[in-house]
Amino acid sequence: MIKKLSVITVLFVSLASYRSYTDGWQERVSEGLVAKPDTLEWPKSFGFGRPATEKEIAAIDIDIRPDGKGLPAGQGNAVTGKAIYAAKCSACHGATGIEGPNDRLVVGDTSSVKSRRVKAIGNYWPYATTVFDYVRRAMPFNEPGSLTDEEVYSLTAYLLHANGLIDSKKVLNAKTLPQVDMPAKKYYVPDDREDGPVIR
């Protein structure tokens, strides 16, 4: 009976994560019920997989960090971006980024607390680099990943300008884009919820 129960226990334990599975294994080994964890005999490397070449990493490493790491060569401004927006974005986001039907991108008053219920770029997005990263990887919705880097710089400039964050002639490139000040950044705090009986 005890043996049966222990077997059931082992079964449940094995359903938990690998780490908790390996916890307390000595007891179970001494009961003769399970093999010792194979982690003890793991080689330094299994040798599965192959080294990634710099070229193949570069081909898919498209992310942009807030400090600008990852931004490509090229540049753009809002004037050029406006035309691209009209042709490729306005059908979903409206003529001026306000009308929809999909996500609103532009908000008039970027400082109003109330307006943050509308999550547009000017009043809610904390980093300008995110606009470039997201537009390049996922937009336009019907043709994702089809824009050139120059087009993305221009569109980013147009959207930041439409939100009143940069001048219409401001040239955005790998150096200037991370420097754009975003009003919502100061509101961002990391998760402050915690375990236990606190409602947050």
Binding site: F12, S14, L15, A16, S17, Y18, R19, S20, Y21, D38, T39, W42, S45, F46, F48, G49, R50, P51, A52, E56, I57, I60, D61, I62, D63, I64, R65, P66, D67, V113, R116, R117, K119, I121, Y124, W125, P126, Y127, T129, T130, D133, Y134, R137, A138, F141, P144, G145, A184, Y187, Y188, V189, P190, D191, R193, D195, G196, P197, V198, I199, R200
Partner: protein, 407 residues
């Protein structure tokens, strides 16, 4: 149809012995339709008087059972009120994706791990399957998973059907981190999907080392396309969006990337001057799935049934109230009660037929108590949004109809 049925009346003798092979072939092909599977239920008056369906290559759901997900353009919800136990059938697992479900050829699939590592590596699906494997049962939940309805006509599926549970099998991400030689200075990694959204989320390395899985299987078979075929990240207890599906790349870093999904989405306003970010853990929650809208009940014995789960650990207690929260009783928890998993509960109740409200609240091993809606609203300065896990009440009318009620 009736004619074929006649043809099909083989004698037992004919089916045995030398002639059996030919006879069976006939049964399986030409007159296969005569078997119960191809017949309407009207035609089969007595299942003991006609042979049943032969063994097949795939099982099927009974024609009488039609549980379906509730799709919208961006998600599809699990029919919680139609399910039993704690494992969600894979074809009823909720869906949430941002660029549709990609069709990825497993023979061309690759996972690249690079950044702050000694050896940037490429792993094929076959490579991933060669590593030591792990399995665990855990829930997955979208953090935008609460809806109500003023008229009360809303099902558990529509309230919080972006919750499902599976047994996930794959390789521990810690095993791959070890293989590529992650730098001790690394603090975050970026997970990127191979879908049209090229979904990206930044994840703390601590979670990666602790219990993250690159899962290639779900409930005993390959992960479903909607759930990330051929391989996905799975982060137990964390908001579903971080468990990046169709994972193609992991970049190890010393800071988060501030992607769109962790800034403009999946963050929540708390009060007038705070936007909470990287709120990964799914708070403790429960819901009564029976009785619930649109079911009707009769007075007398009712087994109140539901599910409870917590991203913080195990469920230790579920309390049920049958008098609108005036008093609470302990519900029975159905074993197994697993870490970061859906736990089934039940409470046997004799309803006197008078209108009342029933509700459940879950308590986890950290002492977290599932809050009421008004407590949550108060704590968040009146804002709704992600990570809403309120107690959900059902109003039982005198006529036995069951309606949702906000708490």
């Amino acid at each position: 149809m009736m004619e074929i049925q006649k043809d099909n009346k083989f004698s037992r003798r004919k089916l045995l012995g030398g002639a059996a092979t030919a006879a069976v072939v006939l049964v399986q092909t030409a007159s296969g339709k005569a078997f119960q599977a191809g017949m309407t239920h009207k035609e089969i008056e007595d299942t003991t008087k006609i042979q049943g369906v032969l063994p097949g290559t795939l099982g099927t759901r009974s024609d009488f059972e039609k549980p379906v997900k509730a799709p919208s353009p961006t998600s599809s919800r699990t029919p919680l009120q139609d399910l039993y136990g704690t494992i969600t059938p894979s074809d009823l697992h909720y869906e949430r994706h941002h660029g549709g479900v990609p069709a990825i050829d497993p023979s061309k699939y690759e996972l690249v791990i690079h950044g702050m590592v000694d050896k940037p590596m490429v792993f094929t699906l076959a490579d991933l399957k060669r590593f030591p494997s792990v399995s665990r049962i855990a829930f997955l939940e979208c953090s935008g998973n609460y809806r109500g309805a003023n008229d009360g006509k809303i099902r558990p599926q529509d309230i919080c059907g972006l919750t499902s549970q599976s047994e996930w099998t794959g390789v521990a991400l810690s095993t791959l981190f070890r293989e590529v030689g992650v730098s001790s200075k690394a603090t975050w990694f970026l997970a990127e999907g191979g879908d049209a959204a090229v979904m990206t989320r930044s994840v703390p390395m601590t979670k990666g080392w602790k219990d993250a899985i690159i899962a290639y299987a779900q409930n005993g078979e390959a992960v479903r396309p909607e759930q990330g075929y051929p391989a996905r990240l799975f982060l137990p207890g964390w908001e579903g969006n971080t468990s990046v599906k169709w994972i193609r790349r992991i970049e190890v870093s010393d800071q988060p990337y501030m992607t769109r999904e962790e800034t403009s989405k999946y963050t929540e306003s708390v009060g007038p001057a705070k936007i909470r970010q990287f709120s990964f853990t799914m708070d403790t929650r429960s819901i009564i799935t029976y009785p619930s809208y649109p079911a009707s009940v009769e007075k007398g014995w009712i087994e109140i049934r539901g599910i409870a789960w917590s991203g913080r650990g195990k469920i230790v207690r579920v309390e049920v109230s049958t008098n609108a929260g005036k008093s609470w009783q302990l519900a029975a928890l159905q074993d197994p009660v697993l870490d970061k998993s859906i736990t089934a509960f039940r409470y046997l109740w004799n309803w006197d037929g008078e209108p009342t409200e029933i509700m459940s609240r879950a308590i986890d091993e950290t002492g977290y108590v599932q809050p009421f809606l008004k407590q949550l609203l108060e704590a968040r300065g009146g804002n709704m949004g992600y990570h809403f896990n309120p107690v959900t009440a059902w109003y039982l009318q005198k006529d036995g109809k069951v309606l949702f009620k906000a708490t």
